[in-house]
Amino acid sequence: MIKKTDDLNKNKIISRRLFVLVAAKIGLLGIVTSRLYNLQISEKQKYEILSDKNRIREWKTPPQRGLITDYFNNVIADNQRVYQVHLSLEEVSNFNNAIFKLKNIISLKDDEIKKIYEKKEKSNPWDTLIISENLSWNEFSKLNLYLHELDGAKPVLSTSRYYPYSNDLVHVVGYVGDATTQDIQNKKKIEENFVPGLKVGKIGIENSKDTDLIGNHGTKRYEVNASGKKISEISYNKETQGENLRTTIDLEIQQLAQELLKNQAGSICVMDIYTGEVITMASSPTFDPNKFTHGISTKDWNEIKNDKLRPLLNKSLAGLYSPGSTIKPLVALAALEYGIVDTKFKVNCKGHDHPYELYGERYHCWKKNGHGWMSMRNAIKQSCDIYFYEVARLLGVDKLSLIAKRYGLGSKVLEDFFSEEKKGIVPSTKWKKQVLEQSWYLGETVITGIGQGYIQTTPLQLCLMTAQLANGGYKIKPNLIYDKEINLDAIKSKIESEKNKSVSQNILKDHEFKYYERLYRNQNNLKFVLDAMYGSTNEQFGTSFRSRHKEDKYKFAGKTGTSQVKRITDQDRELDLDLEEIEYKSRDHALFIAFAPYDKPRYSLSVLIEHGGSGSKAAAPLANKLIKKILDRHELREKIRKDLKNIA
């Protein structure tokens, strides 16, 4: 009986205990169920995204750069088909082995192999490595022959930048190269579209217009497994080519300019005096931008870098030179505008025996025997230094500086388009105090009057100055990329209305001018200066008389200049050496500015030959050939302008 009651009791206990266990189980089951509900229903989207992130991997495909053309639609920066070999790292079982095999098929140099290993260090295991960017056809076909032995190697047909006119436009167009970490940090567009092997602009238009030229990368989405192996392509968002750019450059004139500058260091700039279009911007010597596309060799780079004539320097806008006598028309204009002297003002130039004297300092004219009594027109035409010493002294450096800045000196012509462009120096008493912390001497005014001393200009600034004188004294907007907003007819009618506007009282004070606003007080002053430049080229005793065109339609007006590299001593003057006898580095720079055609001016130009000697001998003759070409191509250019206007 005891056993029986105990059994009953035991049974009861077990059942009760079971009940508690089952209750606990139901509770735990509830927890698991709610967890599953939470994961699969409430947070489904979150985990779906995570799952897609897991299984889908994106590969960016490189965009094609936009083309760059000249004004006449000649392609000056092209995309060329290239043969490449890529290595898909996820498919390579033994990297060292793969490189060794490739080395035997395509010629890889030791330093190239070193670079490949460096690149590999930085890549992800699923990346594709570019082994060679530019294979010859021979190498490429050989590669295809041995492809079955090369795990992961892929022959790829790609495009790369090609400059068909190689050396002729490097300073304008620039070149491309691999994007550096800095490039990626500095430009958002590069960062967004970065793909291994992406080329970005390093200098020139390629650099400043990179954002437009790059285009947008494509995206290929693949399903991948946990080790990153591609399983299938899911989608392909095609890459888009960058914008095509039309420049204002005339390829033929540019080529002629480079030809004229051959074997010399120098610059030629040509500009439309109304539209401000830069038609030519040549700098010499040049180099081949194509060498940079796939990484330049150390030997080639050293050759360019160590060239004494400094090919890397874009002399048109980053080379600084004293303007020399090319400043004289501007000095004359300033003196007339301020009414310091009139055109009849005369000075006697008596030769080296009786130089101009100021506080015991002596200032010589370039002409040994002197010019005799000079009026203003003659002084410009024959470039008499004594005359301009005196005019500058009377005028004062501050007024001269104000007018010089107004016509384009002392500031960047293309604003921030080229990072290397220089502002130059237009000195004034205030400038000297601020920069050199010294007071101004009158003697410095005197030499500023003939474009020597502190004053520093770029050839492009001189070209702009000439343009703004030749167009009758109106501010223009220089540009290098075709801009449909700039309309010749509109500019001309704006200028016409400015001409008849009454002169503001402030016209001779320092003040900010808008584009196409008149810069002068009295139109006659400008006319006088332009006429004097005509005399300089087209009349006997004019400094560029020998470079003139006799045919009416090519007639141009200009002004020579000689930029002293060092101070001329009395000893030099006595020796009076020929150019060939002076050491290259000590020879003067030759300058020439001009506009054409004279009767209806349309183009301005500047020529600079580094250490070329005198402007009339070295620089002016080049202008003769250039102007013929420019004017011959005028009709064609106007036709294009009309076509472009119609499209717009």
């Binding site: 059994d7 009791n9 035991k10 967890r35 599953l36 509900y37 779906e48």
Partner: protein, 376 residues
């Protein structure tokens, strides 16, 4: 009188036996088995190859074994209970000397046709042993120190042997199953509370003797992002797979997480993850429902059994089964640390399948021979 005749009737006709079989339970087991075969098939991206073939063979063999062993008298299991336990311990000792090592732990002994994991058998042996132990003890004696100490020692020996393999998961499951029966037998609640407190206090010391990989698993459980590519990888990927399954799942053979090999151990511990990714919340609930029905049927058999041995065994086995299922699912959904516990029947693994089928056959034997009084 009717009672006494039935008490003494220890002979069963074959027809009686067939009639006594719980067919519903067999159907549930067969269903879960089929689901498991398809799931393993899916882990091989729909190829009928190594794992699927093996799993199917094992299921068929052990399922047949379950059906055959169901006809072994329950009194046999009662009599051999301690032998079974001792055999289990011996096998565990054998592992120490002749065991096969894999990924840092020594758990298996080679039986030529398959590698046996004795700790899996121990999971059943402990239940059988404890069911017998408590079968005869009177309820009034259970609280005495003698009867308290003996089962604790019986439990600690296999747990220690399994922990040192090292296999924390199985040790916890063995301990859990044993404790379930001690609880059912009626040991006072306060002893459980005391031992729980002692465990809590000693936890820091326990952690200090854990193997580094075990420690990191527990740490990453609390913060899986600590090491997303290392120890936390499994939890994160498993949660992604389950979560992205959504309500109805990605479809059979469409689970990208497992197909693309993001899921580790997908045919063993993480088989539920794969199933849940492909069949979603609805599928998971159905599978859990099948397991619940299985447990319910086992409890029902225990309920209608006359002997304490059968009752304790069935309830104990049902609790253990629940524990295995809960630990596994809670683990893959990120509720518990990854300790290594297979999902009964579903997971790939011969020893686990063998022990579950063995356990089920004892349950069925309890059903068929429910009128056996056992003992005195």
């Amino acid at each position: 009188m009717i009672l006494s005749t039935s008490l003494n009737s220890t002979s069963y006709s074959f027809l009686d036996k067939l009639r006594a079989i719980d067919y519903f339970l067999i159907i549930i087991v067969a269903l879960i088995g089929s689901i498991s075969v398809f799931s393993i098939y899916s882990t091989e991206s729909g190829n009928f190859s190594f794992y699927t073939k093996n799993h199917l063979t094992r299921f068929l063999v052990f399922f047949s074994m379950f059906l055959v062993l169901s006809f072994v008298r329950v009194s046999f299991w009662y009599r051999q209970a301690y032998i079974f336990y001792i055999l289990g311990i011996l096998l565990l000792l054998l592992v120490i000397f002749f065991g096969i090592s894999a990924s840092g732990s020594k758990r298996w002994i080679s039986l030529f046709i398959m590698n046996l994991q004795p700790s899996e058998l121990m999971k059943i042996a402990i239940i059988v042993c404890f069911a017998r132990y408590y079968h005869r003890i009177q309820s009034s004696d259970i609280q005495s120190y003698k009867y308290l100490l003996q089962p604790i020692i019986l439990l600690l020996i296999p747990c220690y042997l399994v922990i040192t393999q090292p296999d924390l998961g199985t040790a916890i499951l063995i301990a859990g199953s044993g404790l379930a029966i001690i609880w059912l037998a009626g040991l006072k609640l306060r002893y459980f509370i005391y031992s729980g407190l002692i465990l809590l206090v000693s936890l820091p010391f326990v952690i200090s003797i854990l193997k580094p990989y075990q420690k990191s698993r527990i740490l990453t459980f609390f913060n899986p992002d600590r090491d997303p590519l290392g120890a936390g990888y499994q939890i994160i990927q498993s949660k992604i797979a389950i979560g992205s399954g959504g309500l109805l799942g990605k479809g059979f053979l469409q689970g990208t997480q497992s197909y693309l090999e993001f899921l580790p151990e997908k045919h063993t511990d993480f088989i539920f993850t794969l199933f849940s990714e492909e069949f979603g919340f609805v599928g998971s609930m159905l599978l859990i429902l099948l397991y619940t029905l299985l447990i319910y049927r086992i409890i029902r058999i225990g309920f209608s059994s006359r002997s304490f041995f059968a009752k304790l065994y069935c309830y104990g086995f049902a609790s253990a089964l629940f524990l295995y299922i809960f630990v596994n699912i809670a683990m893959v959904v990120g509720l518990l640390p990854i300790v290594g516990a297979p999902l009964p029947i579903m997971s790939y693994g011969g020893s686990s399948m063998l022990s579950i089928m063995l356990g089920l056959s004892i349950v069925m034997s309890c059903k068929i021979y429910s009128r056996d009084p056992i003992g005195n």
